[in-house]
């Protein structure tokens, strides 16, 4: 067993995480469901990689994500920070044992549960009454909640990431930064977050992480989702620094995720500069404490090529985070595909690899490049028909912003993960078919990477009920691409599409150069150059000239590793 501990820091990271865990929860449910499609029952996925087994105070066995999630106070909506599983049976809230004098109660208005959460709650209560041997049918006066209504309620009103979560979390998992309230003050830049890790909060976060890490026998790594659009960059950077210190050799795979909202809303020149400075600083700091960083999040996801078959609402974090979560799910599959002995012959999976394997492969080859691009084909095209080779590679489209298209890079290294793709219509392609097809695709491609790793799983991405209605009219019930669109008045969601094949790719390529150069140039212009307009701001964020110089240098090293002739990488101008 090689465990992964997951960390989610910041608003949008927790939205992505919520979808990610919903997907895992769905897989767990399907694996145990005797009526489910056999492909879900033989996943050959080792869920213990991400989950821990525990016991509630009532002595019931629990299976919860090995997760530390960090967000502002008040960001959990109607969910208790202790999660839903380890609830104490308290003797009524008015019972105070520590004070003999007066008591005054100050209750904030309870968050109303939406229809979806209400139905989850009802289900749970029902299963409890059944367990207790009481026939719950008699007082079954509650109204039946239809799936359509649940889906609609989510489409219309997701405010918190907990609104659409169906996962039970461990009481140690959900941490709210004490004293930092959501909606009270803006938490939108690096400077605002710079002190958030100190003052006992960092210690609390480290302690919670230690709780999960101590249990691990062979930890393969950390997967870290951070919303790097604001103050959480600073929180995450400090957290990463303390992790690098404490877990010296354990690799950290960092996904810097952003909601589309964070890209817009720049009212003035000043704000644009402000944002540029934040982006440069935030990337420099975050990249210095991890092994591999994957920037994820397009300014206009809905109009991107990655969303060709989707209809995403950019202004809805609920929508965008689902696309990213599905992609990250695909890309992290190799970490938990079961290791098969050399003699074992599996027709379900191939290409398992652990975190340090992927990190080494992408960052440690001929050149040192720790920034990878995430591409996705959602849904993945079928692997039959004419020019299929081109289809797969063409459909893999970036979710990483600021990158070049169609770059020829002979040094590129790629890791592709294909799950549940179709061969001939209605039939899942076998692992060897996928292997052959991908190989053929690269043979015929105009530019080929130096090295490519392929992971295949026959199990497609299951679409949980609380998944946004983002599928276009060409996506069928099993995620097959239809020749003629389905005419429907509404967008298609979890009730219409039950699963989809996915392909995702991590790519170490010089295509990421604009992303890096952009940050380097901005850092120099606003922070380092003589009389730089952002110098004062940066010093108020706690960065001295020396530190900025160092940041500039390491960014410039990243650039020159990918492009030795780059002009921006040299300082002499």
């Amino acid at each position: 067993m090689t465990e992964i501990v997951t960390i989610q820091v910041g608003g949008f990271a927790n939205f992505v995480g919520s979808h990610f865990w919903n997907i895992q929860d769905e897989l767990l449910g399907l694996a145990a469901d005797p009526y489910a499609d056999p492909v879900f029952r033989n996943q050959n996925l080792n869920m213990d990689v991400l989950y821990r087994t525990g016991e509630t105070p009532q002595g019931i066995v629990s299976y919860t994500p090995r997760l530390v999630s960090v967000d502002l106070q008040g960001s959990l909506g109607s969910m208790s920070s202790r999660g839903t599983l380890y609830n104490e049976t308290s003797p009524g809230p008015s019972y105070v044992t520590t004070w003999a004098g007066n008591i005054s109660t100050h209750a904030s208005g309870p968050h109303r549960k939406n229809l979806f959460l209400e139905s989850l709650y009802e289900e749970e209560r029902e299963s409890l009454t059944v367990m207790n041997g009481i026939n719950g049918r008699e007082n079954n006066s509650r109204r039946e909640i239809h799936d359509e209504d649940k889906v609609e309620s989510l489409e219309n009103g997701v405010q918190f990431w907990t609104d659409f979560s169906k996962v039970h979390y461990h009481p140690q998992s959900l941490y709210e930064l004490s004293g930092l309230w959501t909606d009270v003050q803006e938490f939108d830049n690096y400077g605002i977050g710079k002190d958030a890790f100190s003052g006992g909060r960092g210690e609390e976060m480290s302690e919670r992480l230690r709780f999960f890490a101590e249990e691990c026998d062979y930890m393969q790594g950390f997967q870290f989702f951070v919303d790097d659009s604001g103050g959480f960059s600073a929180v995450a950077a400090d957290f990463l620094e303390s992790i690098a210190d404490e877990y010296t050799k354990t690799p950290v795979l960092l996904y810097a995720v952003r909601g589309p909202v964070s890209h817009t809303n720049l009212r003035s020149q000043k704000q644009t500069v402000f944002r540029d400075i934040h982006d440069a600083v935030s990337f420099s700091r975050l990249s210095s404490f991890c092994k591999l960083i994957v920037p994820v999040g397009l300014p206009l996801l809905s109009r991107s090529k990655a969303a060709t078959f989707l209809s995403v609402k950019d202004e809805e974090p609920y929508h965008c985070s689902a696309v990213y979560a599905a992609s990250l799910h695909a890309i992290t599959l190799p970490f938990r595909l079961e290791h098969l002995g050399p003699t074992a012959d599996s027709c379900n999976i191939s290409g398992s690899m652990d975190v340090s394997g992927v990190v080494q492969m992408l960052t440690g080859q001929a050149r040192q490049n720790m920034v990878s691009i995430l591409d996705v084909a959602m849904p993945a095209p079928p692997l039959t028909g004419k020019q299929v080779e081109q289809t797969l590679l063409r459909n893999l489209q970036p979710l990483t912003p600021d990158i070049t298209e169609d770059v020829e890079d002979l040094q590129a290294v790629e890791s592709i993960s294909v799950q549940g793709s179709f061969g001939s219509p209605g039939h899942r392609a076998s692992v060897s078919e996928v292997n052959d097809m991908v190989e053929a695709a690269y043979e015929n491609a105009t530019s080929r990477p130096k090295f490519c790793h392929l992971s295949v799983s026959q199990c497609p991405l299951p679409i949980p009920l609380p998944f946004p209605s983002i599928f276009g009219s060409h996506v069928g019930q099993h995620g097959e691409l239809l020749d003629s669109p389905i005419i429907s008045s509404r967008s298609r969601g979890s009730l219409d599409v039950h699963s989809i094949p996915m392909a995702a790719r991590l790519r170490s390529s010089s295509a990421v150069l604009p992303f890096l150069e952009n940050r380097l140039v901005k850092l120099r212009r606003y922070g380092i150059e003589r009389g730089a307009s952002g110098a004062q701001l940066l010093s108020s964020w706690g960065f001295g000239q020396d530190e900025l110089q160092d940041m500039g240098e390491s960014l410039s090293k990243m650039v020159s590793a990918l492009d030795p002739h780059s002009h921006t990488s040299s300082d002499s101008d």
Partner: protein, 534 residues
């Protein structure tokens, strides 16, 4: 220069700004004043998801409140900073600032310029601080501090946070804890008191463990769950093999080469484990002793196996801070390498045992010799009770530490405030020329907010109480307020003492903030919810 002002911010004119500040300060005072003293009201905060927080502590309350008013935020920050520096006095700071503003309002409404009041504040503040130096009760802290006085200070603060029996029990615990970690000639580091909690029916089972309680156990089924006469090895050494270095298969020309690398790496880890086992055999052979390894880094199953077979108990991923605490509790030294292990590195504990509570495990390291670190084990029936006791324990510890460091205490129950007020009115006022006198008077009257609030919270008439108290003081009797009878009492006799440094800090920061709020020119009203819900 890059200074982004919120374009939505409203700029208020001077007079409106001043009144906004006064109202905010009074508002915050109203929220917090019911907290004050042993007869105050405890607040139960229930969050939107039903989470409960219990607090009688101004500091905790301020942190839990969603304060939106910028003036209130400024006051709250000062008060919370007060707590960070001296560990207590948050509520007093807030109500003192509120009262200074309230007293000022009267004069300002009569047309007086705030500048004059502020000048008076400054004079009064300096005079009061000087008076505090004369008024304080010196305490000699030699090699053996006066435990009784420490306990009285701790009890005074704890009784304002917890019911009497529990407060009295914790008084002994926090006093003994600080005396345990105190070293002559060194600053007291309260982090050397570990605070650990456990779910348990009764809060009175809270106790002091002379030694350490760790929140994890060994990870091998064959390791002993209880051992006596233990050598303790505290280390920060990786006992797991780093596959990251060798796992990437593409670096090897063939599988044999890779296997060989793995074996070599494994051997290195095994050698490290063997060095620990060698030391164990050296110190334990022929004796009825045990050996416990507490490691900050990881220990993988093969290493645990080797250690278990050698009869060693091993804990992995110990808290960083516990490395230091273990050494102070058990002796020995924390090692970062197993290369030159000697018996001198080892600490000692008479008893090490594991306690399992559901999925939670605790390891007790007890019966240590001459400990300089200890653990307060808090037990409570639920999280919010535990959290509240924990807050109180922290305050109690700070009170004891402050007393030792201040080498003095101040008579409590409002005695100091009344004495200082009479001093200002009877002595200082006449030395001040002109209208600044009124600032001195405002300051002096504001001091009375402490005894007034204590009286109010006890259901007493505050005018009667103030008349009785000031009367006694004018007759030369230093008295405070009895919360039970409403009669003047001698705090010395009752054992009611406050921290000198807390009082000084309140006197220093309160007027500074009040002056800033009074001299405001304009207020930029921002920090409200400008973000549209998405």
């Amino acid at each position: 220069m890059l200074r982004v002002l919120n374009p939505n911010a409203e700029v208020l004119n001077k007079s409106a700004a001043l009144h906004m500040n006064i109202n905010a300060a009074k508002g915050l005072q109203d929220v917090l004043k019911t907290n004050l003293g042993p007869k105050g009201t405890i607040k139960m905060l229930v969050g939107g998801a039903g989470d409960i927080k219990l607090t009688k502590d101004g500091n905790t309350l301020l942190k839990e409140m969603q304060i939106q008013n910028p003036t209130a935020i400024m006051i709250a920050r000062t008060a919370v900073a007060q707590d960070d520096i001296s560990g207590d006095g948050t509520t007093s700071t807030v109500i003192f600032i509120g009262e200074l503003m309230k007293q000022s309002e009267r004069y300002i409404d009569e047309g007086m310029h705030p500048r004059v009041l502020v000048d008076g504040f400054e004079i009064a503040k300096r005079a009061t601080l000087q008076f505090l130096e004369k008024f304080k009760t010196p305490v000699v802290m030699g090699d053996e501090p006066d435990k009784e006085i420490l306990k009285m200070v701790a009890r005074t603060t704890l009784r304002t946070k917890l019911y009497e029996a529990l407060a009295d029990q914790l008084t002994d615990i926090v006093t003994n804890a600080v005396l345990c970690i105190r070293k002559p000639e060194e600053a007291i580091d309260l982090f050397m008191v570990e605070i650990m909690h456990m779910r348990h029916k009764f809060d009175v089972d809270t106790r002091l463990v002379e030694g350490l309680v760790l929140d994890h156990g060994s990870r091998h089924p064959d390791m002993k769950r209880r051992a006596e006469n233990c050598h303790i090895l505290t280390c920060n050494v990786s006992l797991e093999y780093d596959k990251s270095e060798i796992n990437a298969g593409f670096f090897y020309s063939n599988a044999e080469q890779r296997e060989a690398m793995i074996a070599a790496e494994r051997r290195q880890v095994d050698e490290r484990v063997q060095k620990i086992i060698d030391l164990k055999n050296k110190v334990c052979s022929g004796k009825d002793n045990n050996f416990v390894v507490i490691n900050q880094k990881g220990i993988d199953p093969p290493s645990l196996d080797l250690l278990a077979r050698a009869g060693i108990i091993a804990l992995r991923r110990a808290k960083r801070r516990n490395m230091e605490r273990l050494i102070l509790a058990c002796g020995g030294e924390a090692v970062n390498s197993v290369d030159d292990l000697t018996p001198d590195c080892l600490g000692w504990a008479g008893l090490v045992y594991e306690h399992v509570l559901g999925e939670e495990k605790y390891t007790f390291v007890e019966n240590v010799r001459n400990p300089h670190s200890c653990t307060i084990l808090i037990k409570g029936p639920n999280d919010h009770t535990i959290a509240q006791i924990k807050d109180a324990v922290r305050d109690g510890l700070r009170a004891v530490k402050n007393t030792i460091e201040d080498e003095s205490v101040v008579l409590g129950a409002g005695a100091f405030e009344v004495a200082a007020r009479q001093h200002l009115i009877n002595e200082v006022k006449k030395t001040v020329e002109g209208r600044a006198q009124l600032g001195v008077v405002a300051f002096a009257d504001a001091l009375l907010v402490v005894p007034k609030t204590l009286a109010e919270n006890s259901g007493l008439d505050k005018q009667d109480v103030i008349i009785a108290l000031t009367g006694e003081h004018d007759r030369g009797n230093v008295v405070g307020l009895s919360q039970h009878t409403g009669e003047p009492i001698d705090p010395q006799m009752e054992g009611i003492f406050d921290n000198y440094s807390v009082k000084r800090q309140i006197l220093n920061s309160g007027p500074v903030i009040a002056s800033q709020l009074l001299l405001v020119d304009e207020v930029i009203r921002a920090g409200r919810n400008m973000r549209k819900p998405t």
